[in-house]
């Protein structure tokens, strides 16, 4: 039934994602400082009824740390995707304004796309000295090119639309046309673009943090949890490595499905 109704599918995945977000926000309130509480009588305890996901080397509850890590990822991802969309939108608008700016923007896009994402992320995080802010800026600064390309193509196409040409012929300025005709048309593209950027942003944030360039090791971010788990892998403490990554996978999957379902529905 559902598979043939794109709108229903989109609604369904939106509902699931919303539930996930609400759960994460609620957990932030309910958890308090559980993610950092150490229990020295229960170090490296395997998953059980008392310790759902097991505990780490300092006896901290892994389920609480995973939830806390996911909400950090969520906020970082949100901010980065938003910032990235803003950059893409403004650069696409600039590119549509004049030929020279267009050439400049496309050179910038080519430059950014020719360096592997992760290396560029490292360079930017290095330049900003690490930390949460640096990660957000780095992720935002590297993820806009693909969306900017889509928006630019859409803008160039729209510029030839009859209503835009009539508006121009009637003597309206470029800026007027841009913000009252073109931008409203682009907003749905931006929304979907941001949603599709979001999973990439989260994955790259986690990767950067895992390598040691991102969030500080004192925060229970997913990348930090997995980097800590690396030290205990050979001891067979599997839960440290499995659960945080599984949580991240589920969150990314939810958002990726929402993005592609929405794109199909609109």
């Amino acid at each position: 039934m559902i598979r043939h109704q794109p709108r229903l599918r989109a609604l369904l995945s939106a509902g699931i994602t919303l539930l996930l977000i609400m759960g994460l926000i609620a957990s932030q309130w309910l958890l308090g400082d559980t993610p950092q509480q150490m229990q020295f009588d229960a170090r490296l305890a395997p998953p059980s009824l008392a310790h759902w996901f097991g505990t780490d080397a300092l006896g901290r509850e892994l389920w609480a740390r995973t939830l806390a890590g996911l909400s950090i990822s969520f906020w970082v991802g949100c901010l980065a995707a938003l910032l990235s969309t803003l950059i893409a939108l403004s650069l696409a608008a600039l590119a549509a304004l004049s030929r020279r700016l267009d050439a400049l923007v496309s050179l910038l896009i080519d430059t950014l796309l020719s360096v592997p994402h992760l290396i560029l992320l490292m360079l930017i995080a290095f330049a900003l000295g690490g930390g949460t802010q640096a990660v957000i800026i780095a992720v935002a600064a590297t993820h806009w090119p693909s969306l900017a390309r889509v928006l630019r193509a859409e803008l160039l196409h729209l510029r030839q639309a009859p209503y835009v040409r009539i508006s121009r012929a009637l003597g309206k300025s470029r800026w007027f046309v841009l913000h009252s005709h073109l931008l409203p048309h682009l907003l749905p593209h931006c929304l979907i673009g941001a949603l599709l950027l979001f999973p990439h942003a989260i994955l790259h944030e986690a990767a950067l943090t895992f390598l040691g360039f991102g969030l500080s090791p004192s925060q229970p971010a997913v990348g930090v949890l997995l980097a800590e788990a690396m030290r205990y892998l050979t001891g067979g403490y599997w839960w440290l490595g499995v659960f945080p990554g599984l949580g991240l996978l589920i969150m990314v999957l939810c958002f990726a499905r929402l993005g592609s379902n929405l794109r199909r529905a609109l």
Partner: protein, 338 residues
């Protein structure tokens, strides 16, 4: 005869022009990469003198610092520093890596030799497997096989690369004990004495993990192309003539889908390299990716810049190949568009 000669002349001229245009663009982009990465390094709050001195930082007086700054040219304005660096770069001198205590070009050369086995193996495997899975899934939309393959591709597309590597280490190295947990050879043996079999044994798991991640993208893309083709008029016509689904997919669909898949394979080299950084880190494989992380964490600026430029060249050549292949495989695409 005369027409043929003229045509050939025309084509070679067009081709040469296309290639010249591409190369000019490549140079410009690389110059921009150099400028951007140099600018980022200049903006970094990490003091290059501190990074150079390392733990001896405390034993150096301010006067000596000034001397070091003068010796390395840190007191010159950024533009002068950049032009100096660029001139050295053009003469083939990438600088000195203080982490490895070797010239940067040597570090990159040695490390890349180890990484190329990992990258190449994973690249070939993911391209071939990804393409065939995509064809199989796209040939019959909605079949059980299609559902399994697409679900698999959607899930791996959202999987963090390093997490998959951690799972692989846990399962195959720790619990099953089939493969070693680290490095490019057994510990305690000189790298020259490691046999080919040992080398492969250490490479199997990293290659498999990296390939597993690369497959998703190509599979989804190829599947999409195949679906598109199976709904097209050409396919309908073939069906009407009595051709079976297998026949249509095998004879026509593959040709339709192979070009975009190949382009994607070449265009995804950057992604592949990014994945290899994470996977080398998890498997402690001493390749270029691990050197990148070490350079970044220990502020080895010349090495970091060198790697950024090198990978940009690597990715750009991949893109160039992707574009050129288009013209070679599909002659309908005009040479002038190269």
């Amino acid at each position: 005869m005369a027409l043929d000669v003229r045509l050939i002349n025309f084509i070679t001229q067009e081709l040469a022009q296309g290639i010249a245009k591409r190369l000019a663009r490549l140079t410009l982009v690389l110059l921009c990469v150099a400028l951007v990465s140099f600018g980022l390094m200049m903006a970094s709050p990490i003091d290059p003198i501190d990074a150079y001195l390392g733990p001896q930082m405390a034993q150096v007086s301010p006067e000596q610092r000034e001397l070091i700054a003068q010796r390395w040219g840190f007191d010159a304005p950024p533009v002068v520093q950049f032009s100096h660096w660029l001139r050295q770069l053009l003469s083939g001198d990438l600088g000195w890596s203080h982490v490895y205590n070797q010239p940067v070009s040597e570090v990159i050369g040695q490390r890349f030799q180890r990484s190329i086995a990992l990258l190449g193996g994973a690249w070939l495997l993911s391209a071939l497997l990804g393409f065939s899975l995509g064809v199989v899934a796209g040939a019959k939309e909605g079949s059980t096989l299609d559902k399994i393959i697409s679900t698999y591709a959607y899930i791996t597309a959202s999987t963090p690369a390093f997490w998959l590597a951690i799972l692989a280490v846990l399962l195959f190295s720790v619990f099953l004990g089939w493969t070693p947990t680290c490095c490019a050879g057994p510990t305690g043996i000189l790298s020259q004495q490691v046999s080919l079999a040992q080398r492969l044994h250490h490479l199997v798991l990293p290659i498999a993990t990296l390939a597993l991640l690369g497959i998703a993208n190509i599979t989804l893309h190829t599947r999409h192309r195949m679906l598109e083709f199976m709904r097209s008029e050409v396919a309908t016509h073939a069906f009407a003539q009595g051709a079976s689904r297998l026949d249509v997919a095998w004879r026509h669909g593959i040709r339709h889908a192979c070009l975009p898949a190949m382009t994607l394979a070449f265009a995804s080299l950057g992604e592949l390299f990014g994945g290899s950084i994470l996977i080398e880190q998890v498997f402690a494989y001493p390749g270029l990716g691990q050197a990148t992380v070490a350079a970044g964490l220990r502020s080895d600026i010349p090495l970091l810049l060198g790697i950024a430029l090198f990978t940009a060249l690597f990715v750009s050549i991949g893109n160039l190949m992707a574009d050129s292949l288009y013209g070679v495989i599909d002659p309908r695409i005009k040479l002038g568009d190269l």
